[in-house]
């Protein structure tokens, strides 16, 4: 298991108790490792936010089509009637 994989398993709580202890001992010896763990956790957050943003873009595109394209005229009439 390389370091990145080890950190991922640590963050996901998938390490065995022995491996976890070993990693936590290394944390005391190597301050850089703590920073790597924090940064890697941030990378996962970024990947999730990036994915959510792409999802929001797809929703916005679908919405734009429904409210502009002629094939959805019946849908629009129904919605505009609700708000009139």
């Amino acid at each position: 298991m390389n370091e990145t994989e080890l950190i991922e398993h640590y963050l996901q709580g998938l390490l065995t108790p022995e491996d976890r202890l070993l990693l936590e001992a290394k944390l005391l010896l190597y301050p850089d490792l703590k920073q790597k763990i924090e940064l890697q956790s941030l990378v996962y957050d970024i990947a999730k936010v990036y994915g959510e943003q792409a999802l929001r873009q797809d929703i916005a595109t679908a919405e734009r089509k429904l409210f502009t394209e002629s094939r959805f005229q019946n849908f629009r009439s129904l919605i505009f009637n609700i708000f009139n």
Partner: protein, 168 residues
């Protein structure tokens, strides 16, 4: 294979009218209904991805339930959802990530960002990643995924050494 956008479009067309009736009844506008439905779709999709479920009573009823919950949670008090700060994405439990940092990473490695978001956000199985990204096999996809995590981690480190836009 159907695109996500076409699935969303169908869900929107099917479930939005009922949401709109509810929002109208509660005194909201069409824009309120659109905003709340947009958020409901994000929640619905994320729950579907995370829990891998198909609602027993159907998508329409489930989405309608989310819309009502969101209304009572966010709109009832102020009538409007508080706008997010300009430089932040997403409210509530979503991680707070600087847009500048995300744009920088997208510019420095779009394919990696797409790969990681497919795996960590969409929870796409490795076998599907192989197909979408054209890897030679599951092993190769796994190796590439970890290479991307390492690459982005280092990019974030270098970036944050230069300026403090870690979390804002």
């Amino acid at each position: 294979m159907r695109t996500r956008e076409s699935i969303i479009l169908e869900l929107y067309e099917e479930a939005f009218p009922e949401a709109a009736v509810f929002v109208r009844k509660m005194g909201g506008s069409l824009n309120d209904a659109k905003d709340i439905f947009h958020d409901a779709l994000v929640i619905y999709y994320e729950q579907k991805l995370t829990l891998g479920f198909t609602p027993e009573q159907g998508h329409k009823v489930y989405l309608s339930g989310i819309v009502k919950n969101l209304w009572y949670k966010n709109y009832q008090k102020s009538k409007l959802i508080e706008p997010l700060a300009d430089n932040m994405l997403f409210a509530d439990d979503s991680p707070k990530v600087s847009i500048r940092l995300m744009r920088f990473l997208e510019l420095s490695g779009k394919r990696c960002m797409e790969l990681l978001s497919a795996f960590y956000f969409e929870k796409m199985p490795l076998a599907d990643l192989v197909e979408r990204f054209g890897f030679s096999g599951v092993r190769s996809a796994t190796v590439q995924k970890f290479k991307c995590v390492t690459k982005l981690r280092e990019a974030v480190r270098e970036r944050t050494l230069k300026q403090e836009d870690f979390y804002e």
